[in-house]
């Protein structure tokens, strides 16, 4: 389908762009490491406390690292007004949204995997048995965030304070996804995984469905003019 081809072309272009500069990924990873360091010195948690706070800390790190990545999402389009070139092409603008959203999702997932690994190492978390659940929870939680984040990044890039605008717009909207992700992760970490796990997973799915559909419908309006 032409729509998917075009979205794929945009996705590939963003991956290529990132591969050349490695801007977004490096900053996201470095940020994650900084958080780990800061957390350790700020709280000096023992292993029990670490277990308790890990889900919340993990997702907080994911969110702020994700914000870093999203800020860059449209940076390449801003230079040379490359976005105009995209808009002029016979492309369904929804394909632009899809391509960009998938690119953002991929970058976030990559960074999150690396950050998760660092967490496991520095805080001696035993993730082995829980990896299965995490493989489900992390993408679900990140998906909604990436989707709303993409459209809100497209909006904020039009302001002169885009770095500040994006978190201000995104964090309130993404809060339910954050809650769901943290709760699901905490439930997964406990032995045995609580009944809450199923509930919050379903919640995340609903959130994702809503916040992929709505931005997709509204994206054209953001690009016009």
């Amino acid at each position: 389908m032409k729509f998917l081809n075009q979205a794929g072309a945009i996705l590939w272009k963003d991956l290529l762009n990132e591969y050349r500069t490695r801007d977004a990924l490096t900053s996201m990873l470095l940020f994650g490491l900084l958080v780990i360091l800061t957390f350790h010195f700020a709280f000096e948690p023992d292993s029990l406390e670490t277990q308790k706070f890990a889900p919340g800390l993990l997702w907080t790190t994911f969110i702020f690292a994700g914000l870093l990545g999203l800020n860059r999402a449209f940076a390449s389009e801003r230079e040379n007004e490359a976005l105009q070139g995209l808009l002029l092409a016979p492309v369904n603008w929804g394909a632009i949204f899809l391509g960009k959203m998938l690119a953002n999702l991929l970058f976030m997932l990559l960074a999150e995997t690396a950050i998760l690994g660092c967490f496991a190492i520095f805080f001696n978390l035993s993730l082995g048995a829980k990896i299965g659940w995490l493989l489900l929870i992390v993408p679900l939680g990140t998906l909604g965030f990436a989707s709303v984040g993409t459209i809100l990044a497209a909006i904020s890039m039009n302001t002169r304070m885009s770095d500040v605008m994006l978190p201000l717009l995104l964090l309130p909207v993404a809060l339910p996804a954050a809650i769901g992700s943290v709760e699901a992760t905490a439930a997964a970490f406990s032995d045995p995984p609580g009944a809450a796990l199923a509930f919050w997973l379903k919640f995340l799915v609903v959130f994702d469905v809503i916040f992929i559909t709505v931005p997709l419908l509204l994206f054209d309006f953001v690009l016009e003019e």
């Binding site: 032409k2 081809n5 075009q6 072309a9 590939w12 272009k13 290529l16 762009n17 050349r20 500069t21 390449s76 230079e79 040379n80 007004e81 490359a82 105009q84 070139g85 995209l86 808009l87 002029l88 092409a89 016979p90 492309v91 369904n92 016009e224 003019e225």
Partner: protein
């Protein structure tokens, strides 16, 4: 030849406003096949807005726009296949090579035999040596040449240009001028917005003066005769209440 076919662009009572701000009022404009039309006017006269409406980047509040016989409302995607746009920004991705940029756009336009056509385009604008260098290393002139390649890769019938000579050195301007002449000679149609009355204007068939969102005057003639007219036109109505 029926009159419909010879119109490449047709604007009928096109208006654009928002609240109290009026960008375009009652625009009637036709551009025929093979014409080279230049839009002149002060900043804020509505020239760029007009161009952007034709390129379907913006929608008019009222009126009809037809490009190559296709109505913009229904067939925006089809229309975009037929037109190319060159602005004063290059619309290129700095971290990709010239070839990768063109490859990307060829995918968006669904161009067949892309690699062959890309190579041909690069040869035509004399960038074959730098084809695999990242665009961020390109000079302004080289970027503009690549932008031209990008704009014409899909062989459009209509070329829209928004102040394309901005920031170009003499050599790059000459190349662009020459290239515009070639496009006209190959039966293409050009609609150009410019402030620069020095370059690329050897083959202009018609001049349209825009002010405050309205077409004020249309003239034929060569650049020399137009320069004085334009200067007078700009001097008029300098008075304003602020």
């Amino acid at each position: 030849m029926s009159s419909e076919l010879s119109h490449v662009v047709r604007l009928d009572k096109v208006e654009k406003w928002f609240g109290p701000t009026v960008a375009l009022q009652g625009i009637q404009l036709q551009v025929h096949c093979g014409e080279f039309v230049v839009l002149l006017g002060r900043n804020g006269a509505g020239k760029s807005t007009l161009l952007r409406i034709i390129a379907r980047l913006a929608k008019p509040n009222a009126g009809q726009v037809e490009v190559c016989g296709l109505s913009l409302n229904q067939e925006a995607e089809q229309v975009r296949h037929r037109l190319g746009f060159v602005g004063h920004q290059s619309f290129l991705y700095r971290n990709l090579t010239a070839r990768e940029n063109l490859r990307f756009f060829s995918k968006l336009y669904g161009i067949e035999d892309a690699e062959v056509k890309i190579q041909a385009a690069l040869d035509q604008v004399n960038l074959q040596a730098s084809a695999d260098r990242e665009v961020k290393g390109f000079s302004r002139g080289m970027q503009q040449r690549l932008a031209i390649a990008r704009a014409t890769l899909h062989q459009p019938e209509l070329l829209l240009l928004d102040e394309p000579f901005t920031g170009l050195d003499w050599e790059a301007s000459e190349i662009l001028s020459h290239w515009l002449e070639q496009f006209i000679r190959n039966r293409g149609t050009i609609l150009m917005v410019t402030h620069d009355l020095e370059h690329g204007l050897g083959h202009v068939s018609r001049w349209v003066f825009l002010d405050r969102g309205k077409v004020r005057r249309e003239m034929k003639g060569n650049v020399q005769s137009i320069r004085d007219e334009y200067r007078n036109f700009l001097k008029e109505g300098r008075r304003e209440i602020s």
